[in-house]
Symmetry: C2
Subunit: 378 residues, 2 copies
């Protein structure tokens, strides 16, 4: 029986994680979870699982929840996430939070000896070096919950890193893969939110359309697999069936494939090193591959440069993107403004190497609020 | 430094094995080899490698070779192959012999504590159960030298066999994949020998056109990976870039890909568990997959049934095919007669379960000679 702590239980990855926990009741016990704004969803979770600790978004209804679920300890907000991370029972912390808020809880969970199943990309993008240091110091396991990284992880497991020529992350191309840059000028939010292959949360769907998502994944892959950026390639693969590949120096290529279903990599991370029984069988169909187009997707090119540079720059890029996507979702900027804002911020920032965790978190806040300030009033 | 014994040094796999040994001179020493009918090729090998033992096809020129290469022990014929297999130095025996002649030397090499790199399909088709018994008893390693099996081996290494849903062997479809059965009526030898993707010996090229090759591979896979036939699938994949796949029960699929170059699986087997440095990089191109067509390729269907039945039947099927292909190459039968002969032999044979090695070898000879007798005079 593995104890599970689920941060971001009401989001897309969160609810799919709950599915898996329910399907394997003898395998997993949900001990703690952070909830969302929707009381109905929260009630559904609280009544299905006997949580020992639950984190609410705000203090407002805390007493109502406490009354209804007297056996559960209710905690609140960012501090509450940390309390879950610190909860004194061993287990796996599934970090399915969206955005930079995911970083600090990951580090606290590591420090409290929990294995990490990481769906929050920002954790490694912002503080990959620090996180790897903690992972090492505390001897915990870090497993990616992302179809691409879970795929690559499975193709390099038990292999010698010196035998690797390169890893390849596939990209579907996102919602607008068949449109030229010119045609992107007047894209609506609704268009941006309809991804051809994957059903995901809004932030990652927009990030797929700008290819920023793939950029964040490249930086994540660098930290997860300890490979230099020149050994990390991206390729367009419209079917999203091959999720990742590893090229070995002897001419062998290993690929990992699967349905477009996030429950597969989630179950992989939770069950590791064993495999679950999903019995989802995917027929092999024709598959298409195209070289990545860095002119069409300038944010991906930027992400490689930013990752290579390191220091605070990945935090700045990520924060600028997070704020810009928020503004786009709120209808305050146009689709192509996301790119412009991110590129401007990165180009004008005075980088600092080897930043502390505090500086990373502060910079993230500063960059986001300055952008929201500048564009938010429109 | 690994000692290599190479049976079938002058064939297609043999000469590619020599390439690899020459490229990694600090890694491998060719101790023994069996040569062919072409004196020029033989001379080339004998002068390049200081062989301790070499097997000639016949006694005829033995004294001439002995004079020219006084440091090499020359042995002859089938008995000579066994002497190489028994040679009292540890090492890897690469069995690249063509046809049923490969079986007995494999078993002797195992009994003399040599690891086996197996390119000879007949060994496992005829006597898979016995060979596995010997492999177990003598604690040697059996590595497949075949793109498909090497691929699958790499996708199931370190995995739990109970997690496997099925393995999938890809088939290019052979020389006539775009022709209907009717159009096969008057196929010439030359047409049959031009394989679209692979450069291989004549026997295996014809076997690819009839899909018997894939049938033999299915039976081999059953013995190599200890999986029942219902967990072994074949699929048409015209590019021959994906060589094999494993479907796991959690919904993950692992595939192994690579250029159409036999040196990759040969180098894999010789270097195992390490990897060589070939630096042959394959770009990802569009890939096509189609379900196997058992009506178009009846010998593949037969091979599944024969493998499932077991006993002497796989030996009979293999022997009938070997004789029929020989007759076709000699221009004595038509292409579609290969199928008819094989099917007739299998249907009319009174099967015997758990045959001894002697009975297997005798049956192989009897079936082959009866077919050559019956059709050879035409």
């Amino acid at each position: 029986m593995k104890n599970i702590y689920l941060l971001g239980a009401t989001g897309s990855i969160g609810s799919q994680t709950l599915d898996i926990i329910l399907k394997q009741p003898k395998m997993f016990k949900l001990v703690g979870a952070s909830l969302g704004r929707d009381d109905k969803k929260n009630d559904h979770i609280l009544s299905q699982f006997n949580l020992e600790i639950a984190c609410l978004r705000s203090d407002q209804k805390k007493h109502l929840y406490e009354k209804k679920y007297p056996k559960t300890l209710f905690v609140v907000g960012d501090a509450g996430l940390i309390e879950i991370a610190k909860y004194p029972k061993p287990g796996i912390c599934v970090n399915a939070l969206s955005g930079s808020a995911g970083l600090y809880p990951t580090i606290e969970a590591i420090k409290h000896h929990k294995d990490i199943a990481l769906a929050n990309k920002e954790t490694l993008v912002m503080a990959g070096d620090l996180v790897n240091q903690y992972i090492n110091d505390y001897h915990v396991r870090l497993l990616p919950v992302d179809s691409e990284h879970a795929a690559i992880r499975q193709t390099i497991d038990h292999e010698d890193i010196d035998d690797i020529e390169k890893i390849v992350i596939t990209a579907s191309g996102g919602s607008f893969r068949d449109l030229s840059r010119e045609a992107l000028e007047d894209i609506t939010l609704e268009q941006a939110l309809s991804h051809p292959n994957w059903s995901m949360g809004p932030k990652v769907t927009i990030d797929s359309a700008t290819m920023m998502n793939k950029g964040l994944e490249v930086i994540e892959a660098h930290h997860l697999f300890k490979l230099p950026y020149r050994q990390i390639e991206t390729i367009l693969h419209q079917e999203s069936l091959v999720h990742g590949l590893t090229y070995f120096k002897d001419g062998t290529i290993k690929a990992s494939l699967g349905q477009n279903d996030m429950r597969i990599p989630i179950a992989y991370a939770l069950n590791y090193p064993k495999r679950s029984r999903n019995n989802q069988q995917m027929p092999l169909v024709d598959m298409h591959f195209k070289p990545m187009d860095f002119k069409r997707f300038p944010l991906l090119k930027l992400a490689y440069e930013v990752g290579e540079t390191g220091g605070l720059l990945p935090t700045v890029m990520n924060a600028a993107n997070e704020a810009a996507v928020k503004l786009f979702i709120e209808g305050k900027i146009k689709f192509l403004d996301i790119e412009n804002i991110v590129i401007d911020q990165v180009k004008s920032f005075q980088n600092i190497m080897n930043p502390s965790l505090e500086l990373i978190i502060q910079t993230d806040k500063d960059v986001q609020s300055s952008i929201i300030e500048a564009y938010g009033k429109r």
